[in-house]
């Protein structure tokens, strides 16, 4: 009886348990569980700093140019000679992202020549008016320890501020297998030089001249960056 064959199938599902997590929408507490996030998840942006505390953004506006949603507004300005903000000639004087428009495609991250803008794994933040949907440099810039600022209306969880440059590294030129094990990016405040991506040539072991910043376990949450 084809009609009845489905009934044991659905009943069996009851005993298989659930695949979804008991997510309570950020209510907190022990029973509020979120699904683990992939390493390269596209969340809210951060503006990174170099290890010496200088801002990475040089105000080149490439991110604003590439943005398909026109959500980024950047103005560059010459660095003040007495108190330079960035190591180069110019710095990002104004940097604004409108999160009502942002589609989190991460093209800005790919376009950035200095790895200044990357994304965290945070996606739970809300606003009550249009104006507060626009994040300015004050909110986007990392703090003195290189951590993203945890703003009061954002629901940060464990691990969401880690690996903020995951997507940048994945799309960097050394995605080519000839560059396997080479870290072709600058260091970040609080993180140092991030370890290179592994597995481009098919073998999962990085070559000997690779950077040794951090152990694989604290960068690789669920092993998803292996080839």
């Amino acid at each position: 009886m084809g009609y009845l064959a489905g009934f044991p199938v659905t009943l069996k599902k009851w005993f298989e348990g659930v695949n979804t997590k008991n997510y309570l929408g950020g209510k907190g507490g022990k029973s509020d569980i979120k699904a683990p996030k992939p390493e390269r998840l596209h969340g809210r942006h951060v503006l990174n700093k170099y290890e010496d505390g200088m801002e990475k953004c040089i105000g080149c506006e490439l991110c604003a140019g590439v943005c398909p949603a026109n959500c980024i507004y950047v103005r560059g300005e010459d660095n003040p000679v007495s108190d330079p903000k960035s190591p180069g000639e110019r710095f990002g004087f104004v940097y604004e992202i409108n999160y009502l428009r942002c589609i989190h495609c991460d093209l800005c991250v790919e376009a950035c020549p200095t790895e200044a803008i990357t994304e965290t794994k945070l996606f739970e933040f809300s606003f009550t008016d249009r104006k507060s949907a626009i994040y300015t440099k004050d909110e986007l810039l990392v703090d003195d320890e290189g951590k993203p600022q945890e703003l009061p209306w954002e629901d940060w969880r464990e691990g969401e501020d880690k690996d903020t440059s995951g997507w940048m590294r994945a799309t960097a030129p050394n995605g080519d297998k000839n560059y396997q094990g080479l870290a072709a990016w600058s260091g970040e405040l609080g993180h140092g030089v991030r370890k290179p991506e592994v597995g481009q040539s098919g073998s999962s072991t990085p070559s000997s001249h690779g950077s040794t910043m951090g152990s694989p376990s604290d960068q690789d949450q669920d092993g998803s960056n292996n080839g």
């Binding site: 659905t10 009943l11 599902k13 298989e16 695949n19």
Partner: protein
């Protein structure tokens, strides 16, 4: 027959008692609807490896309440081309029958030791149901028919295409399946010899075969009327897999497409109320309702409620299970199942049960006599019946296939075998 407290005339206390029972049933039904929506969403989630509502209240229990509040505060829109009066009337027309049907369901009471489910309340003997109507089961059929009017008029008065199609489907579906519903119900009436739901439960509370097998109608009517009733009842409720009336994918919600706010909430309420009531009716008709053994500890009438509730939960689960498992029927499949399977089957079974009753020696007065030996008479009858049923089903399937062939031929849809070219 009928409510015992009304046998000696009606005084003010009787009116109060009746009103009080109606009020309690109203509140119980509303709460049960709230829990039913939650139960359905939770169970269907588990059957799909999900958690389901979990935010509003413990285990998401208050999800329905939150939904209700949301609906209540939404704008109640009235489409420009609608018929305003009928448009407003339709939700109530489907809600009120849903309430009224529940009145005939005995939800508790002690049916052991010839107690007939009576309890004494305020010095009056009464049954634990809103009213023991002497025509109880007919009331159920009548109300489920009127409930269809609510859906039909809702679709018709919306002044919109999809709701109209939904309401046309509702009408056709109700006509097809109410016949099967009524015929399978007739088998139960035949066995219990009464239309009163209290009496139907009473018959099932008797000591059954071999002393321990319950005298439930599902067993005494040999399962078939129950299966027909369950399928036809699901169709009557417009629940999956028979929810062609709503059919989100084709009709954007069918008859309630144009409804919003409290009017939509009333349809929603009526739908789930009907589900609870249909489960309760099935329990009453086929599973002995509140009748069950009394293990002490609790008062007898409360044991009745416990048994009723347990049986009801099983059927509510089955309805949800249907929804989680079966895809929606196509329109022609719906009609085929109703007219070509359920109606002939329930009709034949009714005749078998009727004939068995006439030829049975338990009846005292055997009208159908084939041979002199009383107990062998039934067996001869059963053999005779199976020959007739076999002939009947062969004729029916012959008629169906012949009709289909002629129809296909007339419409030119018969695929003429074409010689395949070899390449």
């Amino acid at each position: 027959m009928g409510e015992p407290y009304l046998s000696d005339g009606v005084d003010f206390g009787d009116v109060l008692l009746a009103g009080g029972k109606a009020l309690v049933a109203f509140v119980v039904l509303l709460i049960s609807v709230m829990l039913m929506v939650w139960f359905e969403r939770k169970v269907v989630s588990r059957l799909q490896n999900r958690i389901g509502p979990n935010i509003a209240g413990p285990f998401g229990l208050f999800q329905t309440l939150a939904d209700g509040i949301k609906l209540f505060f939404k704008e109640d829109s009235n489409p420009a081309k609608s018929d305003p009066f009928v448009f407003k009337l339709a939700p109530y027309l489907s809600l009120i029958p849903a309430f009224l049907t529940f009145a005939i369901v005995p939800i508790a009471g002690d049916f052991n030791d010839g107690n007939r489910g009576k309890v004494t309340m305020f010095g009056r003997e009464t049954f634990l149901q809103v009213a023991d109507v002497p025509i109880g089961v007919l009331l159920f059929l009548a109300m489920s028919s009127i409930g269809v009017y609510g859906i039909m008029l809702a679709g018709w008065s919306s002044g919109s295409k999809y709701p109209l199609m939904g309401s046309v489907r509702a009408t056709a579906q109700a006509i097809s399946y109410e016949a099967a519903l009524g015929l399978s119900l007739a088998s139960v009436i035949l066995l219990s010899g009464s239309l009163s739901t209290n009496e139907i439960v009473n018959v099932q509370a008797d000591v059954g075969y071999a002393g321990f097998i319950p005298n439930w109608h599902i067993l005494t009517s040999a399962i078939v009327p129950f299966v027909v009733f369950l399928i036809a009842g699901t169709a009557e409720l417009n629940r999956p897999p028979f929810d062609l009336v709503e059919a989100e994918q084709e009709l954007v919600g069918g008859f309630h497409t144009e409804y919003s706010s409290i009017s939509f909430a009333l349809f929603f309420l009526a739908e789930f109320m009907n589900t609870v009531t249909m489960g309760a009716i099935i329990v009453t008709l086929f599973f002995g309702g509140p009748a069950g053994p009394d293990f002490g500890l609790l008062p007898g009438w409360l044991w009745g409620f416990v048994w009723f509730f347990l049986k009801l939960i099983v059927f509510l689960f089955i309805f949800v299970w249907f929804r989680a498992t079966l895809p929606r029927l196509r329109y022609d499949q719906l009609m085929d199942l109703g007219w070509k399977v359920l109606i002939p089957l329930s009709l034949a079974w009714l005749l078998v049960l009727g004939g068995l009753r006439l030829s049975s020696p338990d009846n005292g007065n055997i009208s159908l006599r084939f041979i002199d030996n009383d107990s062998a008479n039934s067996f001869v009858f059963v053999g005779f019946v199976f020959i007739v049923l076999l002939a009947g089903s062969i004729l029916l399937s012959l008629a169906i296939t012949t009709a289909r062939d002629e129809r296909l031929e007339a419409s030119g849809l018969v695929s003429v075998p074409v010689e395949e070219e070899e390449d």
